[in-house]
């Protein structure tokens, strides 16, 4: 019930101002948005790269979290995007981050704050690797993102 009004307000706010390294790519409806994020420091893993995020909102947003994942764009689109290398990001773009799960989500989070959290999650990483079991996960997972029971055992990453 809140979703449309709340999202249109988030949009107005972001059109006035977005934090550095974050850009709105697509927000023509209130169900799916795309955002671009850049890592602003000199972390060699992500230097000069831009990554694309897809947000999918249910009508229970923000009581329930949006589904957020990285997506790939081929070179032919003119804005090539890859999936960033990170031990909590599967190669199909699915992100293992507690604040995006039903249990870790808080309705005071916004699209902007999620983007910033992901920026800092990448900034802080120095491991050029995928989560354990990546190939198996992307071959077998058919569940919706927020229903996946990730184990957030590694808070250091």
């Amino acid at each position: 019930m809140f979703a449309t009004k709340r999202l249109s307000k988030e949009l107005v706010k972001m059109q006035e101002h977005v934090p550095p390294g974050i850009a709105i790519v697509k927000c023509d409806n209130l169900e799916e948005w795309q955002m671009d994020i850049k890592i602003l420091d000199q972390n060699p893993l992500y230097l000069d790269q831009t990554y694309r995020l897809k947000f999918t909102f249910s009508n229970k947003y923000p009581i329930e979290p949006p589904e957020v994942q990285f997506i790939q764009c081929p070179d032919s689109t003119g804005t090539p995007r890859t999936i960033p290398m990170h031990p909590h990001i599967y190669s199909n773009g699915i992100i293992c981050l507690d604040l995006l799960g039903s249990a870790g989500w808080s309705p005071v989070q916004t699209v902007e704050s999620v983007c910033m959290s992901l920026q800092s999650m990448l900034t802080a990483n120095n491991r050029n690797e995928r989560p354990p079991g990546d190939q198996e996960f992307i071959a077998t997972n058919r569940r919706r993102i927020r229903d996946i029971n990730f184990v957030y055992e590694d808070d250091n990453v």
Partner: protein
Amino acid sequence: MAQELKAKGNELYKAGDYIGAEDFFSQAIQKNPHDATFFTNRAVTRSKLAKWADVEHDARAAIEIYGLKNPAALKSQNYLAEALLCLQRPQEAHDVASDAYQQSLAVKNAQSENLSRNVLRAKQQIWAARETARLRELNETLGSVEALVEADVTRALAELQGRLERGEIGEIGFGEDQKALHEDADAKIRNLREAFRVASNGEVQERVVPDYLVDGITFEIMHDPVITPSGVSFDRLAITKYVEKAGVDPLTRAPISVHDLKSNKALKAASAEFLAKNGWAVDW
């Protein structure tokens, strides 16, 4: 018999034939004027037909049958508030909706959300009525100031005419001075109107709701704020929904229950005061 008439009315209502449905509900009421559901059904049918005075009548009749304190009457209270809003009686609508909202919260009735919205709509309408009166008054003030400017120029023109007739100035000088006086008066009136427009038109002033009145969940203005144990306030309905589901404080993630949410009365008063002066904030 009356129940059959009601069933027929419901059928037509679902099919979108509101005039036919209203007729069947009226027949049902004639057979049995003591069944509140006949009145509520006719009320909602009549609201589709925008017969607001009749909606008011039916909603009041249903409330009367149920009894004012009966939770079953909350739906009718909401129809009544809506009818009163459409009848441009916002103060009455506000009183009905606020009382019913409190009652609905106490019994966790599904009408809380609708009632909450109608409380806000009523606040907005009360403000709009006051704003219109203020603008009308302002327009009257503008009218009398404009009349003063016009009287002034008429007097100056008459004086000029006199000087021409006494031969103190020539035809050419008279024409030039006359033109200058008209231009001067026009400019004065233009400036006056601009000044009044700036002073009265809200679009010119910046319309911003202060952050402390904005709910962190819905991003709308709070009219019934509650405070969490961590000291942050949210609008009651949104935070209740979240706490019922998640069982934690949205900021600290400490476990809390809905009983830990306390009315923030000072903030509620601040919100009421702000809305009384800024009814536009409801749609903000």
